[in-house]
Point group: C2
Chain length 254, copies 2
């Protein structure tokens, strides 16, 4: 039985407002005293700002269009549009964000959140000597449940899944289907100290060093379910409409 | 700006194997030193065991049937069945669980997880004098993302949502759509110390006393999105098939 220790989640204070071109490694290293096995959860918003992903709000509709691979579902009143982004992530408005940005601007997600996480983890390991993992988080809605939780959209140097497949439970029986997405759980946990209005964009999770590993572990892209295996790849209404059209066409041909 | 403090998640050690009729309040009160504002995350499994929700594994198929309100989606090979349970929760196999139970048995979810949480919170407040909140958690899969995270299926004495609607961001702009489901984030955070194979069914989250409140706050049932507002209430394939049948019928009638 592995040792079970307590977990501490520390808000990182003193992170200034981030602007395009800022060196996030230097900013975070200056604000944190990091230890081996620490996992940093970094709000994607500051990664986007550092990477210059801010655009004029007037271009928001075009930006959502550009960030979208396809529309997954639209609410009956047309106000909610769930989109698969070019990153494969299914989210409202393709992750284009208008809160906590300067007036008249919106933020796009980082171009490559796993790459951003890798650069941060490599930089922080070099700068501090501590073997840390990095998660880039975003606030995502979900099917079936109201509200949002923070999830991992980028990860490096950290296991995104804790793989019990092949393991056994406390009664010695196989744990066949259990694949906890610890990256999403870490992102959710960190949100409890980062919150939305307190200007704390980074939290450090201390107490699960077993989850920290090589920089080339699979990133958060590996969490995204392939469309072929996703039983909810398209909204119920949109699927029904497509089926209806196919039924009509089949009847006319037959 | 609210004060941002660190969060600590403590595994509760020394919880014995739970059997039908066990007094969970007494067991948890004996294992924990609780403080005002602590939030206990209790794995639904031990609540089910205490409530005698264990049945013979031979009856598993019947049990899933009995626990199901409707089938939401079935995988092409028929092995994965996503079901809306009588609790409104959408989950594989209606939450009927065969891991960490005695050989030859399966566990059903508690009859009323919000009621179970309320009884635990009331009992623990009376037994310890500490104003605590309680979340009953279960491991749930999700649409679009692989793996599972722990979520709240029962809650009492704790705010399940942190409502920023009507609030403003750090630039003073309205936070219109932000409704973090802190109950699910607390459940996810606790899973990072409870894990699946370590026999730690309860964790204490310390550091968000602002989320603890009256026992009659809305429970976890309020997290479940009403079907009418759920854009993914039925699987893509099932919706397509229903639409196809309707299209055929319409063509024949027309």
């Amino acid at each position: 039985m592995p040792d079970v220790a307590e977990l501490t989640i520390l808000p990182l204070r003193g992170i200034p407002e981030i602007r395009e071109g800022d060196d996030l490694v230097a900013v975070i290293a200056a604000a944190a005293t990091l230890r081996d096995g620490d996992i940093l959860v970094v709000t994607s918003k500051i990664v986007s700002k550092a990477e210059g992903r801010m655009i004029a709000a007037d271009d928001r509709a075009d930006a959502i269009e550009a960030e979208s691979a396809r529309i997954v579902a639209t609410s009956a009143d047309g106000r909610v549009r769930i989109v698969e982004s070019r990153l494969g992530i299914i989210a409202a408005a393709a992750g284009v964000d208008a809160s906590n940005t300067p007036e008249g601007t919106v933020l796009l997600l980082p171009v490559d959140p796993d790459g951003s996480a890798r650069a941060l983890a490599a930089g922080l390991r070099a700068a501090t000597g501590a073997q840390v993992g990095v998660i880039v988080s975003d606030t995502l809605g979900r099917a079936w449940r109201d509200g949002q939780t923070d999830s991992a959209i980028g990860a490096a140097g950290v296991h995104v899944f804790e793989d019990y497949r092949g393991g056994v439970d406390s009664a010695g029986r196989p744990l066949v289907v259990t694949l906890p997405c610890v990256a999403d759980e870490l992102a959710a946990a960190a949100d409890l100290v980062k919150r939305k209005t307190t200007g704390v964009p980074v939290a450090v999770v201390r107490g699960r060093p077993d989850l920290v590993g090589d920089l080339d572990l699979p990133g958060a892209r590996s969490i995204v379910r392939e469309r072929e295996r996703d039983l909810f790849h398209t909204g119920s209404h949109e699927s029904w409409e497509a089926g209806y059209a196919a039924g009509l066409a089949a009847a006319r041909e037959g």
